[in-house]
């Protein structure tokens, strides 16, 4: 067979080469030169291996030679290397030409370049392998589910099943709501859906419910897969179990809260301690100093009338000291009364008892006492403290009344919200300059008036009692107009 026959047999632009029985090239067509970038002169006389890219195994070539030496055609895909080092894949057919003894005396190699396709296939295979590695890794660590665009589960991995305790059969075809723990509002899920439906990734922490009712926390990422129109056609949800972390977080939160509470208690105890230090230093030491100075004076004075003058001054100081002392003991007692007995208190009854004690004073100054407990006639609280709070506040209104006008005292109770009750005691007396005394009004030994009976313990005591009841106390006042004190307490509906 001659050259013309080969050329005739094949369609352009095939790469055609003819070798002798040993593989030495005897003919190449133009296309061969074009693809291999060798000239015909460079190729002819060379072994076909000149094009070997070293990619294929020895076994492949052994099989190739065995086939063609046996008189059969060989078909396959080979990767060749051009002169400049570029690689190209070629769909290859090698046909042996046999002599009379049925032995091949030459071979025709017909190739079609498939580089592009082959490359794509290899890349595809590699990508596929990589992807399955990723999938494996993901399945090992994450809870994975795929849903269609209406939220119906179409795929779950094994971890999803072990965590949710449902089988994949139970899950597939179901809505994701099967694991909803009811922890979040409708609005929350609406937001989630609007995020992913608009093509955005949603990230967040969710609390889910397993088949057995147990709850688990998952750090969740939902990725929408978009079609050509940018519409999501499915969602992939990747979740990580963070139940343990959540538990630890909750514990930390709780201990933080406790720590803050303890700190607040400590701070208030510390403030009280400073107050007590101050009481001992001023309120207790001052009358003792007076007694000491009086006694000193007595010792040095011989004059009888002077001695008598001093002698009568001692007893009131001792009495005052006793009063301060008693108040102090009571104040300390309040701090230690932790289990207060709460009972229903009829405010009218309670106030009546308090007012009995001020009967003479009220009559003397013809004070007008107005009472309005209609909004909250009964409260649940500690009888002794409420009695004492009223006593202190009413005593103040009488002590600090204005000399220029008739005293009007208004005592009220009213509801604040659903579970608060406020008691108020107001007067039209001297008032307190709150700009000057705001910080100190409820502190110990603070007196705001030049009154001989002002010991400065009354409001401190009242505040201590209100604190012990878990309430709040505050005041509004204007100098020479009057004051109003408010006490807010928990209201237990009966």
């Amino acid at each position: 067979m001659g050259e013309t026959n080969h050329k005739y047999a094949i369609d352009q632009p095939s790469i055609v080469a003819v070798t002798d029985e040993k593989g030495i090239i005897t003919y190449v067509n133009d296309h061969f030169c074009e693809i291999s970038k060798y000239t015909a002169e460079e190729l002819i006389g060379q072994d076909h291996r000149i094009l070997n890219s070293g990619y294929h195994s020895k076994e492949l070539f052994a099989e190739l030679w065995a086939t063609i030496n046996n008189g059969s055609a060989w078909k396959g895909e080979l990767r060749n290397k051009a002169k400049d080092g570029t690689l190209y894949w070629a769909d290859t057919t090698i046909v042996p030409f046999l002599n009379k003894d049925q032995k091949p005396y030459q071979f025709a190699t017909i190739q079609t370049v498939i580089s592009g396709r082959k490359k794509g296939q290899v890349a595809h295979k590699e990508t596929f392998e990589e992807l399955s590695h990723y999938k494996y890794a993901l399945d090992q660590s994450a809870i994975v589910a795929i849903t269609n665009k209406s939220g119906i589960i179409t795929y779950v991995n094994e971890k999803f099943c072990t965590t949710s305790k449902y089988s994949s059969e139970e899950l597939i075809g179901q809505d994701h709501r099967i694991i909803n723990s009811g922890y979040y509002s409708k609005v929350f899920f609406k937001k989630l859906w609007s995020t992913i439906l608009s093509g955005n990734v949603w990230k967040g922490e969710l609390r889910n419910k397993a088949k057995d009712g147990s709850l688990y926390w998952v750090d969740t990422t939902i990725i929408p897969f978009l079609d050509k129109k940018n519409q999501p056609y499915q969602f992939v949800a990747i979740r990580f179990d963070i139940t343990k972390r959540k538990k630890v977080e909750a514990q930390i939160k709780l201990s933080n809260k406790k720590a803050i509470q303890y700190t607040q208690v400590l701070e208030s105890k510390n403030a009280q301690l400073v107050d007590f230090c101050s009481i001992i230093s001023h309120n207790l030491r001052a009358p003792l100093t007076s007694i000491l100075m009086l006694v000193d004076y007595l010792e040095q004075t011989k004059n009888k009338s002077e001695r008598n003058e001093v002698l009568v001054k001692i007893k009131p100081v001792v009495n005052h000291l006793l009063d301060v002392f008693n108040d102090l003991v009571e104040a300390i007692q309040i701090q230690y009364d932790t289990n207060l007995v709460l009972e229903k208190i009829d405010l009218n009854d309670c106030l009546k008892k308090v007012l009995v004690g001020f009967d003479t004073q009220i009559q003397d100054c013809r004070a007008d006492v107005q009472i309005d407990f209609t909004q909250a006639p009964v409260i649940t609280s500690h009888q002794k403290y409420i009695h004492s709070i009223f006593t202190n506040l009413i005593s103040n209104t009488l002590k600090y009344k204005s000399p220029n006008r008739k005293l009007i005292i208004i005592i009220r109770s009213f509801l604040k919200g659903k579970n608060k009750v406020v008691l108020s005691v107001s007067d039209n007396g001297l008032g307190i300059d709150l700009v000057l005394h705001k910080e100190q009004i409820f502190k110990i030994r603070k007196t705001f008036h030049k009154h001989p009976e002002a010991k400065g313990l009354g409001l401190f005591m009242t505040k201590t009692q209100v604190d012990a009841l878990g309430g709040k106390i505050w005041a509004e006042s204007q100098p020479n107009k009057g004051s109003i004190f408010f006490i807010e307490l928990k209201h237990i509906n009966t």
């Binding site: 400073v274 230090c277 101050s278 230093s281 001023h282 309120n283 030491r285 001052a286 003792l288 100093t289 007076s290 000491l292 100075m293 009086l294 000193d296 004076y297 001054k313 100081v317 000057l436 030994r445 007196t447 705001f448 008036h449 030049k450 009154h451 002002a454």
Partner: protein
């Protein structure tokens, strides 16, 4: 100039005022100018006489625990007022408090010359007016 020193007593403790008066009578070099039962009355007096050096005291004995304006509140206003006075005034904080918080606080104020713990004796009073 007067030969004796004028003293203003700012204290609400009647016993202390009574006995201090008695002691001042015995210490010949002092004249008790006036007594105020709280910081505000004392401050009003000083404000009133700020341009009249002869009518201002040379010594102020100041209590801390007082109604209306206490000793600290008095000092806050007093330090603002002091540069206007045309004379030197010595302020002694005189309190029954032995708390170091009070003592250190008083001593940190420039206008306070010393902190005197009650009770005070006649000897202590003599010492205080020797300057």
């Amino acid at each position: 100039m007067n030969s004796y020193k004028k003293l203003t007593l700012v204290d609400d403790d009647e016993i202390f005022v009574f006995l201090t008066k008695k002691m001042i009578e015995q210490v010949k070099v002092i004249h008790l100018l006036n007594v105020f039962g709280n910081g505000l009355d004392a401050l009003n007096f000083l404000r009133d006489k700020k341009n009249d050096a002869d009518l201002l005291p040379e010594i102020i004995l100041l209590d801390l625990s007082m109604p209306v304006l206490n000793g600290w509140q008095f000092l806050e206003e007093y330090t603002k007022l002091y540069p206007i006075f045309g004379k030197k005034i010595i302020v002694y904080v005189c309190s029954s408090s032995i708390s170091s918080t009070d003592i250190n606080r008083a001593k940190s104020i420039n206008e306070v010359s010393d902190y005197v713990i009650k009770p005070i004796t006649i000897d202590k009073l003599r010492e205080l007016v020797k300057f």
